[in-house]
Symmetry: C2
Subunit: 308 residues, 2 copies
């Protein structure tokens, strides 16, 4: 799957991922009104609004982008109806040829991590049958529990040719509270980065490992350092746009080959119609606003990479 991700990036020339994090406040009123008309102001109604919103954004952007990253929390908050639409979104994006990164940030002790791995990346056995319940291509994983929390995910990735992005340095303001603490003069995130490089060694695709890392766009200096610590790891970079990251800050997350990183934008793309720059599209053409925002984001990052 790492090879497909690299291929998709080369084909589109766009090292970006669209974060499908559909808060209800991002969804235009006419979409919500139609969904509530059909299902009432219920969890099912909310889920239907999310589905219609996602579908339009995917339809309007899929040819420009290599991947999407649905944030499961935004679905899980609507309970089971929300998770049904999470699954529907995963399937639809895969049909469109997109690589799907499930942003699930799971992580537990061995046998429990194995259950998450099977549920999201692998196949679960029921009697003599097998099922792939959520079936994303990549997932994000929290490393706080150490190797035996991560290894069950890696085992499933090896079997299924899928991949991980392991949280190393997150994009939020207080990420440093624990992640930046110095251990023998070295920050914890670097220690985790070293582990990611190690875990990834025997998980190589053609050019990159399928064990990647999450490093926030909001910490470009750390991205530069971590790029060297994990030369073969793909870095998923959240925090572009709404959280403050810009293309020029991100060049050091990439290798010299122009690969090795994929930059996520969620709100900046999916709620583009709410920004002044794209207001002309109006809520009814929110998908076109998202397309324009994708084009601008690609130009920003491509420009920065060309001029580095």
């Amino acid at each position: 799957m790492i090879n497909k991700l690299v291929e998709n990036i080369k084909r589109t020339g766009a090292p970006i991922v669209v974060g499908l994090d559909p808060k209800l406040e991002f969804i235009p009123e006419h979409i919500k009104a139609a969904a509530y008309e059909k299902f009432g102001e219920t969890l099912e109604g909310a889920a239907e609004a999310i589905w219609q919103f996602n579908k339009e954004i995917v339809d309007k952007t899929y040819d420009l982008i290599p991947a999407v990253k649905p944030q499961v929390a935004m679905y899980e908050q609507f309970g089971v109806p929300g998770l049904l639409v999470f699954k529907k979104t995963v399937d639809y994006c895969k049909e469109k040829g997109l690589v799907v990164i499930g942003d699930i940030k799971r992580g537990d002790i061995g046998s429990t991590s194995a259950a998450y791995a099977v549920g999201h990346l692998g196949k679960v056995k029921v009697g003599s049958r097998e099922y792939a319940p959520f079936d994303e291509d990549f997932v994000t994983v929290n490393p706080y529990l150490g190797s035996d929390g991560v290894n069950p995910f890696i085992d499933v990735c090896k079997e299924e040719k899928k991949g991980l992005f392991i949280l190393v340095k997150t994009s939020n303001p207080s990420s440093g509270e624990f992640q930046d603490q110095l251990i023998d003069g070295k920050p914890l995130y670097e220690l985790v980065g070293e582990k990611v490089a190690k875990w990834g060694e025997d998980c190589m695709g053609d050019e990159y490992s399928y064990i990647g890392a999450v490093v926030g766009a909001t910490y470009p200096e750390m991205g530069k350092a971590l790029r060297k610590v994990m030369p073969k790891a793909f870095i998923l970079v959240p925090g572009y746009g709404a959280q403050g990251g810009k293309g020029k800050d991100l060049v050091h997350f990439f290798n010299e080959d122009g690969l090795g990183a994929i930059v996520n934008s969620s709100r900046g793309i999916i709620a583009a119609y709410k920004q002044e720059a794209y207001a002309k599209f109006g809520p009814e053409n929110f998908g076109d606003a998202s397309r324009a925002a994708v084009e601008d984001m690609i130009a920003d990052i491509r420009g920065a990479l060309e001029n580095r």
Copy 2:
């Protein structure tokens, strides 16, 4: 909800929690056969088997115990049908008067943590209506992202009078890989423990804070140290029984009042009928085996507390 947990513990005299982590391999063949007969060897069939298994264990133990801890991964691995039964289990246990600790180990950046918090502990708004999607009483939270990943959970707890158990030192063998790293001579888990104490300060129930911690039974010395760092935090202690912890190792997780800790056993209770000690019950009476195992666990821990 921390007050209800304390009341339930005092009433039952049992500072224990039964982990409802129903792997299919734990479920007796006759339960699975009946479920597959009805729904086939499908995700729905697996979910039905889990439900019948859980129900019997709860029916046979609820009067002895204060709380249950369903591990969501064991349900999530069966996709949406599994999550429907997670919810059904939460609701059933609450009807029986049990405190329900959702072992979800979620944690993300601010607005995403808020979505998890709302989905599992709070209420989500859809238009003019509100819904409580999963509605557990407590959840477990991963602190790797720092305060702004944890605070949204705390906010919902304050509003809903619910609570958290934050991962401090987990029970698995490799938990030390990151958690034990020394920062200015102090291990990371202790730093996290200090934060838990701090977060908990303005979240007090009558005797204890509703911001608790997870500390593995497999690390009794660390439990002893952390007990002092977080005097008002309830400690959820996994790792008893199958993972190796024994009653006498656990006394220092408790305060002098005999409170302040709640010890989890999952496999040791729910798959008791598979152990030699309870084999006489046979698979058909697996619920009675679980009841006997609960009685033995209570006696072990109570004995250890009386003799300390």
